[in-house]
């Protein structure tokens, strides 16, 4: 038993039970917390695989940004209701879903068991051979800005589209009506924004 094996075993348990927790929790907040555990364990597995930069990015981006964003939306919308997992909206849907999942795992595991290490085919070290230790960060950065510089630029476009899309989607529904003509700046007295508070004071 090497250190790598022990770390893998511990993380695999956390990943599987965390994943099941995400799927089976009735409260969405519990799902999010289980997701954090799973993502952390995957970050440790990245360290196990000598991908130091990705482990750090995983913790920062996923648990630090994405899960916090999901939790923020949950709190914004209010999640005091727990989901009802007992009733099945579509009859036998779950059986088929589990069958699909089992078939998926079975297919991949069969390939791995039958093929062994030779199941993974392909040329070795096509772009650049992995360097060990702290060189991982330097190597990844150099690859991103040399070989993969065009995908990196396209990524910038994708992020811009996502931001614009999010802004468009989360507009208030009433904003689709045409904006009225702006009134003159002199009659500040009947500002529609102050009218409800004056009504409430009476």
């Amino acid at each position: 038993m090497t250190v790598h094996s022990v770390v893998f075993a511990a993380c695999a348990v956390i990943v599987i039970f965390g994943g099941l927790g995400v799927v089976l929790s009735r409260n969405p907040v519990h799902s999010a917390l289980n997701l954090v555990a799973t993502l952390f364990a995957i970050a440790v597995l990245f360290l196990n695989l000598d991908a130091q930069l990705l482990a750090a990015v995983q913790v920062i981006v996923y648990t630090g940004a994405i899960v916090v964003l999901i939790l923020f939306v949950m709190m914004l919308l209010g999640v005091e209701t727990e989901d009802d997992l007992e009733t099945e909206p579509l009859v036998t849907q779950r059986i088929f879903a589990v069958l699909v999942g089992v078939a998926l795992v079975g297919a991949v595991l069969a390939v791995l068991i039958i093929g062994g290490a030779s199941a993974v085919t392909g040329m070795h070290s096509v772009t650049q051979a992995l360097q060990s230790g702290t060189n991982n960060v330097k190597q990844l950065g150099r690859e991103l800005f040399t070989t993969y510089v065009f995908p990196l630029e396209v990524t910038a476009g994708l992020l811009t589209v996502a931001v614009v899309g999010a802004v468009v989607l989360s507009r208030r529904p009433k904003d689709v009506q045409p904006i009225p003509e702006p009134e003159s700046m002199t009659d500040q007295g009947d500002d529609p924004l102050t009218a409800p508070t004056e009504e409430g004071a009476h």
Partner: protein, 102 residues
């Protein structure tokens, strides 16, 4: 690290992917569905890093970088959809997404 342990990483990735996929199929809360998609993306990330390690190539890790960006964009748009949906109908589930039809 031995080849066997790397194969176990691939198997774990497959199991996590299936868990996420089954969750996506059986859950109807859109927030939980987004989280299940995250699970599937992470399973693929794990597989990519393991492949990069098996083939001794840095590209596996570079691709994970791009998957992270796509995941972030997907979460932003997905949560925007969920917020827009919940404004029209609080406590909505995945079936109610048809309310968003223009």
């Amino acid at each position: 690290m031995t080849d066997n342990l790397l194969l176990f990483h691939l198997g774990l990735g497959a199991i996590l992917f299936a868990i996420g996929g089954v969750g996506l199929l059986i859950r109807r809360n859109p927030l939980v569905m987004v989280m299940c998609v995250e699970l599937m993306l992470n399973a693929v990330n794990l597989t990519f890093v393991t492949f990069g390690r098996m083939l001794n190539d840095i590209s596996g890790q570079v691709i994970v970088f791009f998957v992270l960006v796509v995941a972030a964009a997907e979460v932003v748009v997905g949560l925007g959809l969920i917020v827009a949906l919940s404004r029209r109908k609080p406590g909505a589930n995945a079936d109610d997404l048809r309310l968003l039809r223009g």
